[in-house]
């Protein structure tokens, strides 16, 4: 804890407040309700620990908070909706105030959702807040995951929290799908219809699973109440439980921080919980809630009155799930039909199963094991509390962008019909294009990203060694032009030089002293290869002696660039100069 200098004007302004605090503390040492509570719980010890916790300031650290707050908003508004929603598929005749459906036979679930939307004051607003918050929840989780991945925040000691986060992310989309299906409208019913088709595709037990889940033939009257129990009880309980563990681990580990002057792997620099983060994080809850409420006031979401009640015979053009399920739906659109075949009298529907049943678990398993995989490849077993700048780990960043590309291609594939009509393209061509992109896109994205990262690293190096471009051009008496470079301050420089640049692991000896092939060597060969893959292309951070050398050359007016620095392609101006010199 830093001490505060009392001679600062800022503190002078606050001096009065503090004095008052002290007086109060002296006169009333934790009396009243607080004292009563502490006598019975001993909470004061823990309170001071928690309230003194330091959090670093950065906008990207708020992404997880957006997810947390939108989840809380969903819980609040969801509780409100349960007062009116009737989770029943029994048919009733609608007689509410929405004219174009009056007299139509609908399910009780659909009728009650219409009532919430039209006949309960403020009901539509709460329903829209609930649904928009759910969409924001899934968006924020994904973006938060991206931040954690690209900055390497999943490394030791945070691997468990990464796994918990991955599970949360997967459960969030399942929770979303369950909620989306509850109103029993035409669109969500079509979704359930497809979900039943997915279940059937499971080998051996598929039709039993379908009968089990739907309590008989599709659609039945069991699925709505069951989904309701899953949506309001089972999954929220698991989500809240895992989320609590997630947050507790954040407190335990202390927050990671971006590299910067004064920030080390052994400290955390930021602002204390009390009062700054109570105000900032608490305030941010209201900001997120406010923004979602404003969106819900102005933008319709899931107009179930327009879709009409579920009926297996009709269907609407543009039948899509909510966006977070889009990638799985996209996969179903891309998988070719020949993956279904009959063998030994039994039907194998891999055209459905791969996209609908296997994709999500496989994807999340790969995500969950990544930290362990990377730790194994790098052989790095130290704790990491300083984040990586994404460019300083080009291979990881490349892998991340490749995975994102895979996801995005699937995601866009699920909107192929709308893209076709809005962009005046052929849906068939679009589907073929996405089928190609799913194979070509990720490797291409990996390669491009890695190259960009390396270039950025070289640019950083350039900046450290030759200073920042000032935009000031000097003309020399001999007619030569040169841009003036200003040296970096030690603080500015530190961000660019602080990182490690690991070298690939190599096998030290293939054979032992007696010429016998080492069993370890055989085992480790794969690891050495992967390590090579990760670290073979590296740009070492500049060292003080290199900077010294650069200055030395600069003094003599001769600019020498290392080949890699030229390759990094600094300002065009400099290249022109170089060409001049050669002439």
């Amino acid at each position: 804890m830093s001490t505060i200098n009392a001679d600062r004007p800022a503190d002078a302004l606050r001096a009065g407040d503090r004095q008052a605090d002290q007086e109060r503390a002296e006169s009333k040492p934790l009396g009243g309700i607080a004292g009563w509570l502490d006598d019975r719980t001993g909470a004061a010890k823990g309170m001071s620990f928690v309230l003194k916790k330091v959090f670093p300031d950065h906008w990207s650290f708020m992404l997880g908070e957006i997810a947390m707050y939108s989840m809380i908003i969903c819980l609040l508004t969801g509780a409100f909706l349960t007062f009116w929603f009737v989770p029943s598929a029994s048919p009733v005749v609608y007689d509410g105030s929405y004219i174009p459906l009056q007299g139509v036979t609908v399910s009780d679930a659909y009728r009650s959702t219409l009532d919430i939307s039209f006949d309960i004051r403020g009901g539509l607003l709460i329903r829209q807040i609930h649904h928009w918050a759910a969409l924001v929840f899934c968006v924020a989780i994904l973006v938060h995951m991206g931040r954690v991945f690209f900055t390497g925040a999943f490394r030791k000691p945070r691997e468990i929290n990464w796994v918990i986060g991955s599970i949360l992310s997967m459960l969030a989309i399942v929770e979303g799908f369950a909620g989306y299906s509850l109103p029993d409208d035409l669109l969500s019913g079509t979704g359930l219809r497809a979900a039943e088709g997915f279940m059937r595709s499971i080998p051996i037990i598929g039709s039993y699973v379908s009968y089990f889940v739907f309590g008989g033939a599709f659609p039945g009257e069991a699925i709505i109440p069951r989904l309701y129990a899953v949506h309001v009880l089972l999954l929220p309980a698991i989500l809240v439980g895992l989320f609590t563990a997630h947050i507790l681990l954040v407190f335990l580990h202390k927050h990671t921080q971006y590299p910067g002057p004064g920030k080390t792997n052994n400290n955390v620099v930021g602002f204390p919980m009390m009062p700054v983060y109570i105000a900032k994080a608490g305030g941010f809850f209201f900001i997120v809630f406010g923004v979602i409420a404003l969106i819900s006031a102005l933008v319709t979401i899931n107009p179930i009155w327009g879709y009409g009640p579920y009926d297996p015979s009709p269907v609407t053009a543009g039948s899509q799930p909510d966006w977070y399920m889009g990638f799985a739906d996209g996969a179903l659109r891309l998988l070719p039909g020949f993956l279904e075949f009959t063998a030994f009298g039994y039907t194998f529907s891999f055209n459905v199963m791969i996209g609908a049943i296997l994709l999500i678990p496989i994807m999340y398993t790969l995500i969950g094991v990544y930290p362990f995989f990377e730790a194994w490849v790098t052989g790095d077993k130290r704790e990491h509390h300083l984040l990586d700048r994404p460019r300083n780990n080009p291979t990881r960043t490349g892998i991340g962008v490749a995975a994102m590309t895979f996801y995005i291609v699937l995601f866009f594939a699920s909107g192929n019909d709308l893209m076709a009509i809005k962009l005046h393209l052929s849906i068939n061509d679009l589907t073929r294009l996405f089928q190609l992109l799913i194979f070509v896109g990720p490797p291409l994205a990996f390669w491009i990203t890695k190259r960009i990262c390396l270039s950025l690293q070289r640019a950083d190096r350039q900046k450290v060694l030759h200073g920042r471009e000032t935009g000031v051009i000097w003309r020399y008496p001999d007619g030569r032009f040169e841009e003036i470079h200003a040296p970096l301050t030690p603080q500015e420089r530190w961000v660019l030089v602080q990182h490690e640049s690991p070298e690939p692991l190599v096998i030290t000896a293939e054979t032992d002293a007696n010429g016998v092939e080492s069993p370890i060597a055989r085992k480790e060969r794969l690891r050495a290869k992967l390590s090579h893959f990760y670290f073979k292309d590296r740009v070492a951070p500049p060292t003080p002696s290199e900077l010294e050398a650069a200055h030395h050359h600069g003094d003599h007016g001769v600019e020498t660039h290392e080949p890699e620095a030229i390759e990094a392609g600094g300002a065009p101006a400099r290249e022109t100069i170089k060409a001049d010199r050669q002439n």
């Binding site: 330091v54 009968y211 400290n267 819900s296 297996p312 009298g345 030089v497 070298e503 190599v506």
Partner: protein, 367 residues
Amino acid sequence: MNDNETTAHGESGALAPAGGDGALETRSTTELDRFENPGLPPHVHRAADDDPKAAKRAEKQVATLFGLSMLSTLVFLVGYFAIHDDWVFFFPGLGQAKTLNVVLGLSLGFALFFIGIGAVHWAKTLMSDEEVVEERHPLGSSEVERAKAVKVVTDGGESAQINRRPLLKYSLGGALGLFALPFVLQVAGSLGPGNVEELKETLWDPKYNDGKPIRLFRDPERTPIKLSDVTLGSVFHVMPETMEKVYEEGKHVLEQKAKAAVILIRLNPDDIKVQKAKDWGVDGTVAYSKICTHVGCAVGLYEQQTHHLLCPCHQSTFDLTEDCAVIFGPAKRALPQLKITVDDEGYLVAPQGFKEPVGPSFWERAR
């Protein structure tokens, strides 16, 4: 096993960084030649730190924001009681919108938003913005503490005599293991008896009509269809006559509809290239199951000129001239055809039901 150890590097065949001496600790050979962390930069004062006027201004701003929040809440309260459900107002950008929803939403949104903005503004301008440094400590416990924990566990085991009395160990394991069974049974028990045969049956089977051919009814009008009603290029959405009984009973309406939905189309008989398809229809009028063989959406998008049927869910495309074979998309199988004829009164009837299960594939489908 202590995680903090590096991989065994002394042994032959171990991995080490290139250029290193084999030990992972010295992963950076240039360790000595590195820049020093310059430490926290000096604190830059904010306007409100130095200038009492700026601080006062910030205070007023925060108070104003909180005040605006209160005002918005008041608007919400008034709006809740004053605005009638039917009121519609023209909001620029929104068009004719429901006044209640817009007013309640905006006032609630701003009431919350201004609290948040106010609190954050307060934190940013008036609370100390001098960075605080908190030290980290390794998360793992010390060796002594680990040993202590191990001792507590082993001592406990000793005291419970779990190793000396194997009977206890095994019976406890058995009890705990069996205790899970009732739950497994509950789940497994309700899995069956799933009647897979039901997946293969539809109301088009004449057995649901005392063995008589079943008339084709319009959906949703529920009226029978004459062959003469179906002109070239027409599409009828069809349910079986046997649905009437189901409607009357009011039970399993959707379950039956979900399997029985049929689409009836008339095209030029010469356009149909498959003889069976022609034979199962009447003068180019053919009926096919409307349930997609992919995952079961309703395939209703008929293109009159190309004779393609498109599924709106995953774009499987079926060609009516080729007996509804798949020509594009993720479905594998053709849509099952329903054989139709004309009865004495000129109405279209289905004499024999579907010859294969309709809808998405399942394991026992071909059985």
